[in-house]
C-alpha cells in the first residue's frame, strides 16, 4: 500500500513537472493580480521581464493597447489602466 502511494505520488510529481512551465514570479505590487489573471491567459509572464526595463509610460500603454485592440484580449478599460500602471511602476523607465 505504502509503495503504491509513493509510486502514485512520484507519477503525479513528474507529470506536474512535465506539464508546467516554470512559474514566473513578477514583482509583488498592486495590480499583479490583474496581470496574472489577464495577461497570463495567453502568454507566460516572462514576456514582461524580458521587455524590461526600457519601455516608458507611453511604451507600456502601447503594449497593453496592442494586446486589447489588435490581439483581442477581453480586458475592461479600468483593468487595462491598472495593468498598465503596474507595468510602468515595476517594469518601466521614466
Amino acid at each position: 500500500m505504502r509503495k503504491t502511494v509513493l509510486t502514485l505520488l512520484a507519477a503525479l510529481l513528474s507529470a506536474a513537472a512535465f506539464a508546467d512551465e516554470q512559474p514566473i514570479d513578477l514583482k509583488k505590487a498592486p495590480g499583479l493580480d490583474l496581470v496574472e489573471g489577464n495577461c497570463a491567459a495567453c502568454h507566460s509572464l516572462d514576456y514582461v521581464q524580458m521587455n524590461s526595463p526600457f519601455l516608458n509610460a507611453a511604451g507600456w500603454d502601447a503594449e497593453v493597447s496592442k494586446m486589447i485592440k489588435l490581439f483581442g484580449a477581453p480586458i475592461s478599460d479600468e483593468d487595462a489602466k491598472k495593468i498598465a500602471d503596474y507595468l510602468k511602476v515595476n517594469y518601466g523607465v521614466n
Binding site: 506536474a16 512535465f18 506539464a19 512551465e21 495567453c42 524580458m50 526595463p53 489588435l70
Partner: protein, 409 residues
C-alpha cells in the same frame, strides 16, 4: 490507475489553455544562469533567461515559455548544419497541437486556383523530392542588441539555424490544382493558433513568383530526420533566402489569391520602412508608401569559435565563424584587428550552397592582454554588413559587424 494522459489533461485544464494544447517545457530543471549572454541585452532579459529543454530538444536559451521562444546557444554554430535537437524554436501564439502525421492533410486551393486538392504525408512523399541546405532565421534575430531597445522577443544571436530540408516542391503541389494567371499571392496557414479566437491567427502570404521557385518546398525532412514537433512537424514551408516568418510550420493550407492578403500578420506586422535597407527582393503587392514586408535576409556573420571576452593563450589563435545572406552567395569574409581601419580576408570553408551557413576561419597572433576582432561579410551582389544599426520600429535586420574581445595571457 491514473494514466499519464489523464494527468496531463488535468494539468492542461488547470492551466486553462484553450483546446487543451498545453506546451510542455520544464522537462529538465531550469538552470540559474546562461553562459556568454551578450551584455547588450536588456537587463530584464538577462535576468529571466534560463537554459531549459522542450520535449525532444536539448537545453536551449529560454526567452519565453508560452508561446515557446528558445534560442540556440553559440556552441551549436561551430558546424554549418545545426542539429535538429538544438534548432531554435519560435512561436507567436500558444495553441500548438501535437499533429498526428497519419491524419495530417494539406489543403490546396483558393479563389486563385483552378481547383482544389488535399494531400496526405504519403502523397507528398510520392512526389519528386528536392533538398536544399538553407538558413532559417527569425526576422528579429539580434533584436535584443538594439540600442535603444525595442519591444518584442529579445533575441541574442541564436534565433537561427541551418539544415538540409527535403520535401516536395511548392510549385509541384500548386501545379496539381493549377494556378490562375491573375493569382498574386499564396496564403500559408499552419495547424497552430491563438488561445483566444479574437486573436489574429498567424497566417502569412508570399508572392506567387516566390512560391514557384525551384527551392521553395513543403519539407517533411530536416537533416535526414522528420521535423521536430517544435520546428513544424510533420511539414513546413521552406523559402530559402527569406526570413523565417514565411516558413510556415505545421502547414495545413496553401491558398492562391488574386487580391493582396490583408491579415494582421501581413498588413500590420513584419514590416520594414521603405528605402532604409538595400534589399533587392520586393513584395510589391504588399508594399505601401511607407513600409513593406520583410523579405530576404541581409548579409551577416557570427564569430562562433569564441565567446566575447574569452580567455586564450597568447600566440597563434584560430578564430572562426559562419556567414550567410539572402541566397546570392557569400563572396568574402574579412577580419579587422584594429577596430575596422584595415581588413584582411578570412579563409572560406565548405560550401553547402548559396542558402547555407558558410564557415570561415582566420589565424591571428594574440598579444598578451585585450585583443579585438571584428568580422564582416559581403555577398556576390555587393551587399554588406553595416557599421551602425539601421533603426526600425520592430527591430529587424540587425547585421551590425560584431566586435569580439579575446583576453590573452
Amino acid at each position: 490507475m491514473i494514466s499519464r494522459r489523464n494527468l496531463l489533461e488535468t494539468a492542461g485544464a488547470t492551466m486553462a489553455l484553450a483546446g487543451g494544447h498545453a506546451v510542455f517545457p520544464g522537462l529538465l530543471a531550469a538552470e540559474p544562469a546562461v553562459p556568454n549572454l551578450p551584455a547588450a541585452l536588456p537587463q530584464g532579459t538577462r535576468n529571466e533567461v534560463v537554459l531549459d529543454a522542450l520535449p525532444g530538444k536539448k537545453p536551449l536559451i529560454k526567452l519565453t515559455y508560452r508561446p515557446p521562444n528558445f534560442e540556440t546557444p553559440l556552441e551549436y554554430f561551430r558546424t554549418p548544419l545545426t542539429p535538429n535537437e538544438a534548432f531554435f524554436v519560435r512561436y507567436h501564439l500558444a495553441d500548438i497541437p501535437e499533429v498526428d502525421a497519419a491524419k495530417w492533410k494539406l489543403a490546396v486551393g483558393g479563389e486563385g486556383a483552378n481547383g482544389e486538392a488535399t494531400f496526405t504525408l504519403d502523397d507528398l512523399k510520392k512526389m519528386p523530392s528536392a533538398e536544399v541546405a538553407a538558413v532559417n532565421m527569425c526576422s528579429g534575430n539580434r533584436r535584443g542588441l538594439f540600442e535603444p531597445h525595442v519591444p518584442g522577443v529579445e533575441w541574442g544571436y541564436g534565433a537561427m539555424g541551418c539544415a538540409r530540408w527535403r520535401g516536395a516542391r511548392l510549385k509541384d503541389i500548386l501545379d496539381k490544382v493549377g494556378i490562375k494567371k491573375n493569382a498574386i499571392e499564396i496564403v500559408l496557414d499552419g495547424a497552430d493558433g491563438p488561445v483566444f479566437d479574437k486573436t489574429p491567427k498567424f497566417v502569412k502570404s508570399i508572392p506567387i513568383a516566390k512560391a514557384m521557385e525551384e527551392n521553395a518546398l513543403v519539407a517533411y525532412e530536416m537533416n535526414g530526420q522528420p521535423l521536430p514537433h517544435f520546428n513544424g512537424f510533420p511539414a513546413r514551408v521552406i523559402i530559402p533566402g527569406w526570413a523565417g516568418v514565411y516558413w510556415m510550420k505545421h502547414i495545413v493550407s496553401l491558398r492562391a489569391v488574386t487580391q493582396p492578403f490583408d491579415g494582421y500578420w501581413m498588413k500590420s506586422a513584419y514590416r520594414i520602412p521603405i528605402g532604409k535597407f538595400p534589399i533587392v527582393a520586393r513584395f510589391v503587392s504588399q508594399e505601401t508608401e511607407v513600409n513593406t514586408p520583410i523579405t530576404e535576409l541581409v548579409p551577416n556573420s557570427l564569430i562562433t569559435s569564441h565567446a566575447d571576452g574569452a580567455k586564450v593563450k597568447a600566440g597563434r589563435v584560430t578564430v572562426g565563424g559562419i556567414a550567410w545572406d539572402g541566397g546570392y552567395g557569400i563572396r568574402t569574409v574579412e577580419v579587422s584587428r584594429d577596430s575596422g581601419n584595415t581588413w584582411t580576408s578570412a579563409k572560406l570553408g565548405e560550401d553547402l550552397g548559396r542558402f547555407a551557413f558558410r564557415p570561415w576561419s582566420y589565424d591571428l597572433v594574440a598579444k598578451p592582454g585585450k585583443n579585438t576582432v571584428m568580422a564582416r561579410t559581403a555577398n556576390v551582389i555587393g551587399q554588406t554588413q553595416v557599421a551602425s544599426l539601421i533603426l526600425n520600429p520592430a527591430g529587424y535586420h540587425n547585421n551590425v559587424m560584431q566586435t569580439l574581445t579575446l583576453n590573452a595571457a
